[in-house]
Subunit: 311 residues, 2 copies
């Protein structure tokens, strides 16, 4: 199939964009100075993430398809966490000229397939050469006439509830970093898969709206740290009951830590009026009080999640 | 002032976002899962670029402020080239933990100041650690109820005209790559500055609208190559008269080549109805004919501009 250097920039762009289905929100897709995306609300939700080789993914662990799924998922989850409907992604891709063209094509297949889960499209981007692979993902979304679900609306008395896996990705990463002597069990393999290709429960956004959520975010840095962001933005204290937090099916004492501090599953955590009755897909894990910070079983928590410059 | 590693991810984000003025189009700025930007047209123009250390900028040539200005400019120019009004940038920034905090702050000052030129804001982003500096810029814009100015509307009989400097950046790059024994003249220094901090004539977007432009783009890969994009998208041939193309004030035979194949000045090139009378700020450089490809003084041109994978 050949390398990207042999194919050239414009050949590569043609090959990649030719694989991208364009949904109804794309008014003008790849090939011009910019894309044009529907924003019927009159506002657009926009978020961006950078993913780097060796930091956000490892080429010896992840194939390009899973990297694409995961890169798209984490940005689509951010849009959903605003209570918005994802419409489009833009992709900036830096990679060595010696990269196989098929690698880039599979990456784009993963990006496009994850978009398809929520009805969005990869509508544009940029490719450049670089010594290492970097993927910049920007996701756009539409609020459908409703106010955004921010981090700042939590009020004393609200329930705190989560939707989706917690600590599965962290447990899977632990298994990848500490391979045992034997083959992985099926349960272990599922945890590894949760790390390589997380499955955000995107329906959480619409469910949270229906439940009258006062704040919502996707858990990317770890539950305690991310609840700390809601506490700080809302000017409240959040009390977490550790026994209520669902832990991953990992056979070790680290499972509780994974559930409380592991990110990357892209579960959703929100606060809801005390009168809300979340369906079984949501788990109530705590309560909002007056004050500040996050407590776990009554003990004040410090920073304990992921810091990109400190690990 | 210390390094970014000492400050940490959230400390850095606080320092950077604290420097960013938020304009009227920003409904929700930095600090949540995503930003919310006004899109009154009901559509949003969106474009993204990746810039890498050693490829798009050199730390021994450019300071962080100029890098920020240039990174913003090239994306704002893409939005303007669609006939849209830039509203916001999102910035993904990867950099080593050992980077001085002041470096990142000056980069953001440059991004914010270039945004201010067109009334846009840096509304959000992401920072991660990486061995080299990479900047991902996404620009958003509003069409104000008008159709986008694409590359595909050129028709036989149209005029081809350009607005802005051509080849200044390429001449400046040449001077940086080939330093002479003596000090640079003032004219040479201006060319170097044009490379380090290009000044796109953003007003060209509105002017092109008034002139009834049938196609418009910003010259990022070189005039001939970029006109080739219009020719291909519109299904026409574009004839360029080399004597009409303004060349940079560079005292060497390369000046004509710089003007025809140099990118990065972010001049604007467009096609206009034959009846259009461009003001003096625009230079008519050719004509649209039936056919395909680009000719220069009658000779068919091949690819001759910038390919990121074929330096």
């Amino acid at each position: 199939m050949g390398t990207i250097g042999e194919l050239g920039e414009f050949g590569l762009i043609g090959r990649l964009t030719g694989r991208l289905p364009q949904g109804g929100d794309v008014r003008l897709g790849p090939g011009d100075d910019a894309a044009v995306i529907a924003a019927p609300d009159g506002r657009v939700v926009a978020t961006t993430d950078l993913l780097g080789e060796g930091r956000h993914f490892r080429l010896d662990w992840s194939g390009p398809y899973d990297i694409g799924r995961k890169a798209a998922a984490q940005n689509l989850a951010d849009v959903v966490a605003m209570g918005a409907r994802p419409t489009a992604l833009l992709i900036g891709l830096a990679l060595p000229a010696a990269t196989d063209v098929g690698w880039a094509e599979r990456l784009y297949d993963g990006l496009a397939d994850e978009c398809a889960v929520v009805g969005a499209s990869v509508a544009g981007g940029d490719v450049v050469s670089a010594p290492e692979i970097t993927i910049a993902v920007t996701a756009l979304g539409d609020l459908g006439g409703r106010p955004p679900l921010t981090r700042s609306g939590a009020r004393p008395g609200d329930l705190v509830a989560v939707r989706g896996a917690l600590g599965h990705s962290a447990a899977g990463l632990h298994l990848l970093q500490n391979p045992g002597p034997g083959a992985r069990t099926a349960a272990e393999q599922r945890l590894v898969q949760a790390h390589l290709r997380p499955v955000p429960p995107y329906e959480a956004g619409a469910e949270a709206r229906e439940l009258g959520a006062t704040a919502l975010l996707d858990v990317s840095d770890g539950l305690l740290q991310d609840l700390g962001h809601i506490a700080a933005a809302s000017g409240v204290r959040i009390e977490v009951d550790s026994a209520a937090v669902p832990a991953p099916p990992f056979p070790g004492p680290e499972r509780r830590r994974f559930a409380l501090t592991g990110g990357e599953d892209h579960a959703f955590a929100g606060t809801f009026p005390a009168t809300a009755v979340p369906p079984p897909s949501w788990t109530v894990v705590g309560k909002v009080r007056e004050g500040r910070g996050v407590t776990l079983d009554g003990a004040v928590q410090g920073p304990g999640g992921w810091d990109h410059f400190r690990e």
